[in-house]
């Protein structure tokens, strides 16, 4: 084991600011995996937040501890009725799905093309105040708001417990990027049609929604007091769209997000699912050593290091397939390669590529955590 000379907090901060930590920080982005690791059904943890919390804590300890905990529990923190992302329908194990299934998003058309005009007039928050009940067939927004506030309080309590044990949840708030939010509201297909057929309507709605989305995230951080904002991207990448679409519908808003968050002393964490190779050069425009580009295994992380490595911390990207189907020695070999090449000269956090899969082999996730603790890398000078 590498002799540690930094605390978990110091190690994380050093990596983000492109300084060299004592070793590469490591963090599996685990939720459902933790529940299954404890022999609990997913439904149990969804019904009882105390069980979800226990699963997360016990799995963290069973893995020997690591540098950041993705989430304290299964849910995201949000102020009641002030949506940081589109209020999508999630299929829950034990309710809409079998008891031990992974929760899954049921992507449906939630707003019509005409609703862009309403969004442009009302902005994000006032639109959902008006639209939510209609969209859900009569479910009052006050009902969901009460649940969200209850969970937010729980989130804060759990963060305090974790901090008491030197365990550090990753983010203080999360927020959908502009294209992510609208794509989830319209579905990928309908949103794509809109971009070609009514781009000005989409743009007006985005213009009117951006400040609310930013403020909602800032309000959550003010309560959770964790200075990292997890920005969910994916739907705006070059995997889907040419850069002139990205230029109009994602980049200007992302810049506003980043300006707002950094000016409040927060770290933007870009959760970049799908292939972002084409867009990565844009990210060099953000302030150096202030953000994290979190890759899921689809973007070539080694190329990303060449493009961004001297400018932005990179995290990633132990793939789901490897963690589920591979062997510990294969996981270790890949993690070593990441540490050698992406970890060279610092600015790297070893994470799972997107969330740790529900059916990842425990010994594989352990191999990932242990490799960061035991292997400094051959380029560590």
């Amino acid at each position: 084991m590498i002799r540690e000379t930094m605390s978990r907090q110091e190690r994380f901060k050093a990596a983000v600011s492109l300084e060299k930590p004592d070793r590469v920080p490591v963090m599996p982005l685990m939720t459902a995996f933790a529940v299954r690791s404890q022999g609990m059904t997913q439904g149990t943890a969804w019904r009882d937040p105390d069980m979800g919390f226990k699963a997360m804590l016990d799995t963290f300890n069973d893995l020997g501890g690591f540098d950041r905990l993705y989430k304290p529990n299964l849910f995201w923190p949000m102020i009641g009725g002030r949506f940081c992302s589109t209020p999508i329908r999630v299929l829950i194990p034990g309710r809409q799905l079998p008891e031990d299934s992974l929760n899954q998003i049921d992507e449906r058309v939630l707003i019509s093309r005409d609703d862009y005009d309403k969004l442009a007039t009302l902005g994000w928050n006032a639109f959902w105040d008006e639209h939510y009940e209609k969209m859900t067939g009569g479910r009052k927004i006050s009902y969901v708001a009460a649940t969200q506030n209850q969970l937010l309080n729980l989130y804060k309590e759990e963060v305090t417990i974790y901090h008491g044990q030197d365990i550090h949840p990753l983010f203080g708030a999360y927020v959908d990027s502009s294209m992510m939010a609208f794509s989830m509201a319209r579905t990928l297909t309908e949103f794509t049609m809109d971009l070609y057929e009514v781009p000005e309507k989409v743009k007006s709605a985005m213009d009117a929604s951006c400040d609310d989305l930013i403020q909602n995230a800032l309000d959550v951080v003010a309560l959770t007091k964790i200075p990292v904002v997890f920005i969910v991207l994916e739907r705006g990448s070059g995997f889907y769209y040419r850069t002139d679409i990205f230029d109009q519908f994602e980049w200007p808003y992302l810049r506003r997000y980043v300006d707002a968050f950094i000016s409040e002393g927060l770290t933007p964490w870009f959760h970049l699912d799908t292939d972002w190779s084409l867009n990565l050069p844009y990210f060099r425009e953000f302030p150096k050593g202030k953000c994290v580009a979190d890759l899921d295994g689809t973007t070539d992380i080694f190329k990303a290091k060449e493009i961004l490595g001297d400018h932005m911390c990179i995290s990633g990207d132990v793939q789901a397939a490897l963690l589920t189907l591979g062997q510990p020695h294969e996981v270790e070999a890949y993690c070593r390669r990441l540490i050698d090449e992406v970890g060279k000269n610092g600015g790297f956090i070893l994470t799972t590529g997107c969330e740790c899969p529900i059916d990842a082999r425990f010994e594989n996730v352990k191999a990932m955590v242990d490799t960061a603790k035991n292997y400094r890398g051959k380029n560590w000078h």
Partner: protein, 217 residues
């Protein structure tokens, strides 16, 4: 009309494409001829995607246009169904454990637009149903799409069942979707994996020409 229709599809102009198709039908044009033009346009979309000129969004857009045009043509096509037109039969589905359908739906439409006969079994499909359909349709291709890892178990089970039923060598199994990788393909025992819809079509066509399977395995 042919060139205008092709241009409308390639120019991402849904309404124009629909107007042209409706006009052509009202003027008595053969629906198969119109379909052929649309398929030629979709072939061109695929080519442009492969060269990087088009992006996935253009595949998504044109696939939607194609779907809508097919719905307009359908009554005329049903009256003169001609199975000889098919390039091959594909059974497609999202395996049990996964309910995501965006990638699978896109792939099904694109395959139809490239003259495959597609049997889409939907999402969360048990492996037994996938194999039963392959058998029933005498399909040389089984295409499986997944966004989350629990689908791997069903993919592997489908492949094992194909083997047990003596169909494995006759069936080209191709997997795709966000969670799949070449590593997963090898572990599961599929013949091909891709995240690229145009490549998927190319691989299936190559297989049907009889040159692909040995190379992949």
């Amino acid at each position: 009309m042919k060139e205008k229709l092709k241009a409308a599809i390639l120019g991402m102009n849904r309404q124009k494409a629909i107007d042209l198709v409706e006009k052509a039908l009202s003027e008595g044009e053969d629906p198969f001829g119109i379909l052929k033009t649309c398929r030629a346009a979709m072939e061109e979309v695929g080519k442009r995607f492969e060269t990087g000129e088009f992006f996935l969004s253009e595949l998504i857009y044109s696939a939607e246009v194609f779907k809508e045009v097919c719905a307009i043509l359908e009554p005329g096509l049903m009256a003169k169904q001609n199975s000889d037109e098919s390039q091959g039969v594909v059974v497609i589905g999202t395996p049990k454990g996964d309910v995501h359908d965006l990638g699978k739906n896109l792939m099904a439409t694109l395959m139809r637009s490239h003259s495959f006969t597609v049997y889409d079994l939907g999402v969360d499909v048990p492996h037994e149903n996938l194999v039963k359909e392959v058998k029933r349709r005498k399909a040389p291709i089984l295409a499986l799409s997944a966004l989350i890892t629990p689908a791997f178990v069903s993919m592997r089970a489908a492949i094992d069942l194909l083997a047990a039923e003596g169909l494995r060598k006759k069936t080209f199994v191709i997997i795709g979707g966000g969670v799949t990788t070449d590593f997963a393909r090898k572990e599961i025992g599929a013949d091909a994996q891709t995240m690229n819809p145009a490549e998927a079509i190319r691989l299936c066509r190559r297989h049907l020409k009889g040159s692909d399977k040995a190379e992949q395995l």
